[in-house]
């Protein structure tokens, strides 16, 4: 059971893919997930992060089965 990673909106276009998978053995935090799936691309300022659909900080720990998401500031409504 690996970790599912999702990118939305402008971040999806910058990263160049909507989704990725990463092994839970090579990452400890949300920041690690970003670095591993983007080849250490620098993370845009104001990027929002969620684990299992709840907002978290980049230091949040991740585990097998988690869904991790990265996206820019929201602009709905």
């Amino acid at each position: 059971m690996s970790i599912t990673v999702k990118f939305f909106a402008s971040l999806r276009e910058q990263v160049g893919q909507p989704e990725a998978e990463v092994s839970e053995n090579v990452v400890k935090t949300v920041a690690d997930v970003w670095n591993t799936t983007t080849n250490d691309m620098s993370i845009p300022e104001n990027t929002l992060m969620a684990v299992n659909m709840d907002y978290v900080e980049s230091t949040h720990a991740v585990k097998a089965g988690d869904e991790v998401a990265f996206f820019p500031p929201v602009t709905g409504g």
Partner: protein
Amino acid sequence: MLIEIKDSPFEPYQRLLEYQSAAGFAGKYGATAVFVGSMREFNQGDDVEAMLLEHYPGMTEKYLQKISEEAAKKWDILDSLIVHRIGEMLPNDPIVLVAVWSAHRAAAFDASRYLMEELKSRAPFWKKENLVEGERWVDKNT
């Protein structure tokens, strides 16, 4: 308390009429506060020809539900309804409908505004505008 995500145009006042007729609170509410957000044909000084609204399926519904529950705890309201459009849209299309029913007006006014402000700051939706010169992501909510 209902949350709806629509991938095709909706008519907010028609939806309100239907929802209210089906709801069981006729005669209980003295106040209904409604907000409708619509697509403008201009933004930041530019003409906008069309717009694409992206969302995060699952997380969007979760946060709309969360803020609806928060509003129901904070104020004495009878019910709330949030409808939000996704996908391709054109100027003048309704984007969002928020409605709150309560016995007295202060709760309906306060809760509807709370729902809109929280939706704007926390619900994962993103707008991409089609301008004459090309596309651009809207980078922040005003």
